[in-house]
Amino acid sequence: MNWYLFRLGRACITILLLLILAFFALAASGDPAQILLGPDTSQAAIDAFREKWGLTLPLWQQFLIYLNGLLHMNFGLSYRTGESALALVLDRIPVTLSLVLPTILLSIALGVPLGILSAMHRGRFIDRLAITLSVVGLSVPSFLLGVLAMYLFSVKLGWLAPSGYVDWSSYIMPVATLSTVGIGTYARFTRSAMVEVMSRPMIETARASGLSEGIIHRVHALPNALTPLITITALEFGHFVTYAAVVENVFGWQGTGSLLIESVSARDFAVVQAIMIITGVTMILANLLADLSYGFIDPRIADLRHRSARRLRTVCES
């Protein structure tokens, strides 16, 4: 089967499953009318709310109506504000991206060299120190680290604004908090990948033909160890969006993460679903992009895809 078609089909199925899961899980979690209108509202008001939002219909009909809307790029309206859910979410995305993208860059910029350093001094002090730091970075929860940082730098030292966006320095604490996880992940991953590649026979062959350790590290070990990093980055992207939700809340940033938390507690279905779909599609695209880029980096994979593409052409022509 053609690789590209296969991937596209799989992505569509994943998104559909995501939609079903999101829709029914939310519907099962409580009645938005009661939560939104409060416990003291009259039955007539509740009925009117339900009538207005189509909540009296059977669940499967609601779902089909929702799907139909999606096909026309209509993500529904927010119960709370009556605004378009999509507009609400799109409004918040730049804030989240402005946290997540610098975090990814910083994680790679610090984590990868740390991993390389660690692998080159395997078993020695530097290695152990780097591993310990990575584990600490990975294990301390972001909300704890965020609160601690806020306490130290804003409350005690008064160096940084505690929350919200003031100027560029407002980025320091949230990005640093988010990055501790990323740096730890990249460092550990790079280290084990380097160690694995350095134990391959091709490294001994390179040494035996007279290449210096420096060239071997740079030309053979690094490219081979770093190709899987693309996949890790695609996966980490999803993690960062999740962690960002926590960090946004701690530091009072108006991003998608804080919007998600507000909307879930308010049972604002349309907004929650819009966020889930957009995040899901982003994840799928990131993974697709990662898989595609392998074709450019690894000639073995390029060959396989090339053959399958050629086959598709012959099938189409015949």
């Binding site: 391959r200 026979p201 091709m202 001994e204 062959t205 390179a206 040494r207 035996a208 033909s209 007279g210 290449l211 210096s212 350790e213 060239i215 030309v219 053979h220 490219p223 081979n224 190709t227 980096i297 690894d298 000639p299 073995r300 060959d303 396989l304 053959r307 399958s308 050629r310 086959r311 012959t314 099938v315």
Partner: protein
């Protein structure tokens, strides 16, 4: 110890190794190498032979400075007149490339999968890669320059690895079993080119091999090693034709070769009728008959690839039929079709006169035919005790009660001459030969009529190989087993088989009784295969051994 050959008049050897000892800090008790010394002249080829664990690879890595830090090295070498302490890995690293270069056994993993051949060579030399590849044996280097390793065959990868090693014009090339993973014709071509380079450049070669015949064909000098010490040295002809050490004699005796008049081992052509339990000539009673078998695969790009095309083979009761061919000749596919591991697209399989359709198998069929693979480590469950694994086929087929099964498993293991102290062990603590005995015992528990051995001795040392081959011969006689014996190693085939079938590109090329086929191959391909087969000297050339005795 001096290895100076008579033909060499130069005073100084290229490399002179003195008193090398290696001890590994972790795990292994005792030393890997003990007080080893030898000399090698420029332009000479030194063969180091020995079995697994003899320390031959450790010695080579010690000279090249490639031993891991856990190895404690003593001793020194003189290289081109300068002394080098072997414990100084940094100093030795400075020699690599232009002084000493090394190539290894597994060509497929020797190269960087992300790099073209051109880049591999450009990293090592700024010069034109073309002539270098020609030296390494490529007829048309332009064709291969922009290929990636996965697009090349094992032989091509090894040639590229050789080109990489030769790129900085080393004075000494160390080759650690470089052709052991390759087909015999490819091996012959690589050996020819190595020999030519050595002569042309005046480069020396240290050639490590477990194959005495390869050493004999290629090398001027030979060192026989065992357990980290040198047992015997001398000129190749002298050592292999007139060995002095008992171990060398034993190694040479273990080498499989044609023995039409040998005693103790089954004659090749017409076995005495008494040895066949039913006394029926094999040809009349085929235990396994493969009729016009074809097997087709779909390639990733959707084309059909016929791995086996219209091949018919019979294996009679008590007969061993050898299936010979290079990699990708379809021999394993044919054998797998016989046991239903792959489905033939055409043809008919019958066992003991009954047609067998593996798409609708009957349990009893599975008992009648058993398969033994190349790698016994992979074929055994690492967590199960040997005797339980041997019992397992009986459990599966529900034969006898538990006590009987255990007794049968023990009996089969004893039959394969496995020490009964090992029955309760797990495969990890057994040697390769012992593990292969266990898989043979397991195959025999259900009393099969047909045994398929797919490269079953290829991964074993020669002396162990010889024992397993004798075991198979003995079992064949005892049970009138029909054995289909697959190997790329013609000397093994010649040793064990009554008849030989030669395959190439999925087709049957030639077939006939072993002795006649090896003496009079009719097809040119078979002739090439046999010509490419490295051979040991048949009789001791007396003048050489006298010369050697004088040294």
């Amino acid at each position: 110890m001096n290895l100076q050959p008579q033909s060499q008049c130069r005073a100084h050897p290229l490399i002179s190794v003195q008193g090398v000892s290696v001890v590994f800090a972790s795990g292994q008790s005792g030393s890997a190498l003990r007080d080893l010394s030898f000399d090698l002249m420029a332009g000479e080829i030194l063969g180091i032979v020995g079995e697994s664990g003899s320390g031959k690879s450790v010695m080579c890595r010690a000279i090249a400075g490639l031993l891991p830090p856990s190895a404690k090295i003593k001793g020194q070498m003189n290289f081109e007149g300068r002394p080098y302490p072997l414990s100084d890995r940094r100093l030795l690293a400075g020699l690599r490339g232009h002084g000493i270069a090394m190539i290894f056994q597994d060509p497929m993993s020797a190269l960087d999968p992300l790099m073209t051949v051109r880049r591999h060579l450009a990293l090592r030399t700024p010069g034109d890669p073309g002539p270098l590849l020609t030296t390494a044996g490529f007829g048309d280097p332009g064709k291969i320059l922009d290929s990636y390793p996965h697009q090349m065959s094992g032989g091509q990868c090894q040639r590229v690895a050789i080109a990489c090693a030769l790129a900085r014009e080393p004075r000494l090339l160390i080759a650690d079993e470089p052709t052991s993973a390759l087909d015999v014709t490819v091996q012959a071509s690589i050996l020819k080119h190595l020999k030519a380079v050595a002569a042309e450049r005046g480069m020396s070669i240290i050639f490590v091999t477990h194959d005495l015949a390869v050493a004999y064909q290629l090398c001027n000098q030979i060192i026989v090693m065992r357990n980290g010490v040198i047992l015997e040295t001398g000129s190749a002809a002298a050592v292999l034709a007139a060995p002095r050490a008992d171990y060398t004699k034993h190694l040479i005796a273990s080498m499989p070769r044609s023995r039409p008049h040998a005693s103790g081992i089954m004659p090749q052509t017409s076995p005495p009728a008494g040895l066949r339990p039913i006394g029926v000539p094999s040809a009349r009673h085929p235990a396994l008959r493969l009729d016009n078998i074809s097997v087709g695969y779909k390639t990733p790009d959707g084309r059909r690839f016929d791995a086996v095309r219209n091949v018919s083979v019979d294996v009679g009761e008590g007969e061993i039929v050898g299936l010979v061919g290079e990699s990708a000749s379809g021999k394993s596919t044919l054998a797998k079709a016989a046991v239903g591991l792959v489905t033939p697209s055409a043809g008919r399989i019958s066992m003991n006169g009954r047609v067998v359709d593996w798409s609708r198998p009957e349990p009893s069929w599975r008992r009648e035919i058993q398969y033994i693979f190349q790698d016994p480590r992979g074929a055994l469950d690492p967590l199960g005790r040997i005797v339980h694994q041997v019992r397992q086929p009986l459990d599966i087929h529900r034969l006898g009660d538990k006590g009987e099964r255990e007794a049968v498993a023990r009996a089969r293991l004893l039959e394969t001459h496995l020490d009964d102290k090992l029955f309760g062990r797990k495969p990890g603590s057994l040697s390769g030969g012992q593990r292969q005995r266990a898989t043979i015992a397991r195959a025999l528990t259900v009393r099969p009529r047909v045994l398929i051995c797919d490269e079953s001795v290829s991964a074993l040392d020669v002396s162990i190989q010889a024992k397993i081959l004798d075991l198979l011969l003995g079992l064949r006689d005892k049970y009138a087993l029909a054995i289909l014996f697959i190997s790329h190693d013609l000397s093994v085939i010649q040793h064990i088989c009554d008849r030989v079938v030669v395959m190439r590109h999925g087709k049957l090329i030639e077939e006939g009784p072993t002795f006649e086929l090896f003496r009079n191959p009719t097809e040119s391909y078979t002739r090439d295969l046999i010509a490419a087969l490295p051979r040991l000297p048949d009789a001791p050339p007396s003048h050489l051994s006298e010369q050697e005795a004088a040294v």
